[in-house]
Symmetry: C2
Subunit: 199 residues, 2 copies
């Protein structure tokens, strides 16, 4: 004997959420049923509206329900800077630093072993955007992983002939923590990228 | 600048799930939008069907989309035993022990400070079920908390005049672990409830 069919179906459906296994899904399903049915219905409606209504910004390719996302539609942002990231989540991370230029969102990173080449992640659209945009600088802010580095390197080569600066976010020791806990590769980058202290 | 309205609405709605805060909700929303929109739509449909279609079994008061739940409708179960628990989740916990009698599901425990008296948790329905059911034994399997104990005690008093045995699940040391880690109250119960070893 087990849960009724509708409860089983709900538990199974909840497991689509990242980090939710069988036990957590059971707890979520029963809690919603017992405590907050209107919240459950609101969630169902928000899911339907989001899954069906959200597409991609036609200019920067981030998630947006409008033709142009808020970042691209804002006339007050700096049109001379373009920041290239791997996904929509990264846009919000960069935004928190105070950056106020434009964005371009790739669909992840180059991954030849998985068959994800430049076309799959939107490199042609990026090149087109750069050619049309008249930027002074393109900042490559892909992740500091092997794949992210390779993706940044590949894009830098493609843009080498354009009349603009192509830059990569700095590698170095993160703020906080202790030097002895930093891995060797990061520390080597931090040493090589050392800068004179301006007093 | 922040997420678009539909994404914000989805993130807000996801926080209705137990254990899901702002960061987790963001990750869930973006992952569904980027990786699994059909899974998100399936979840929306399952939520709607469950929230609107699932009621309570008319006999044992557990969650069920049918008039009678699977436990009550099954003719092969032992009609002489009734197990009283605090919620639907407990039914599945008891079921895993191999118990195959009937169930009655309270709506939580007595909690006078929160204004939850016998009527609010379904004690009258329990008494009616006991009077109609012809049980030989009622097993009180409310939680081993102060409130659960008080609830069991209250129900036992109500049923004292009926021609049946009212029992409480045993308190004692749980299997596994070490004696020195068991709290004093539990160990006192285990000592008081000691039983001769039958060889």
């Amino acid at each position: 004997m087990s849960f009724s069919p509708l409860i089983r179906q709900l538990i199974e459906a909840l497991r689509v959420l990242p980090g939710v296994g069988q036990k957590t899904a059971q707890r979520m399903a029963l809690q919603l049923l017992e405590r907050d049915r209107s919240g459950g219905l609101r969630l169902a409606q928000a899911l339907t509206q989001a899954m069906e209504g959200i597409g991609y910004c036609s200019r920067c390719r981030t998630l947006s329900e409008d033709e142009l996302c808020g970042f691209c539609a804002d006339p007050r942002r700096d049109d001379s800077l373009l920041c290239v990231v791997e996904g929509p989540m990264d846009v919000f991370a960069v935004e928190q630093t105070g950056y106020r230029g434009r964005y371009f969102v790739l669909k992840g990173h180059l991954s030849p072993l998985d068959g994800r080449g430049p076309d799959a992640i939107g490199v042609p659209e990026l090149v087109q955007r750069v050619e049309e945009g008249g930027f002074a600088e393109v900042i490559l802010a892909t992740n500091p992983t092997v794949e992210g580095e390779a993706t940044a390197h590949y894009i830098a080569q493609l843009l080498a002939s354009k009349p603009l600066v192509t830059s990569r976010i700095a590698h170095g020791v993160p703020l906080g923590g202790e030097l002895e806990l930093v891995d060797g590769g990061t520390l080597a980058h931090a040493l090589a990228g050392r800068r004179p202290i301006g007093l």
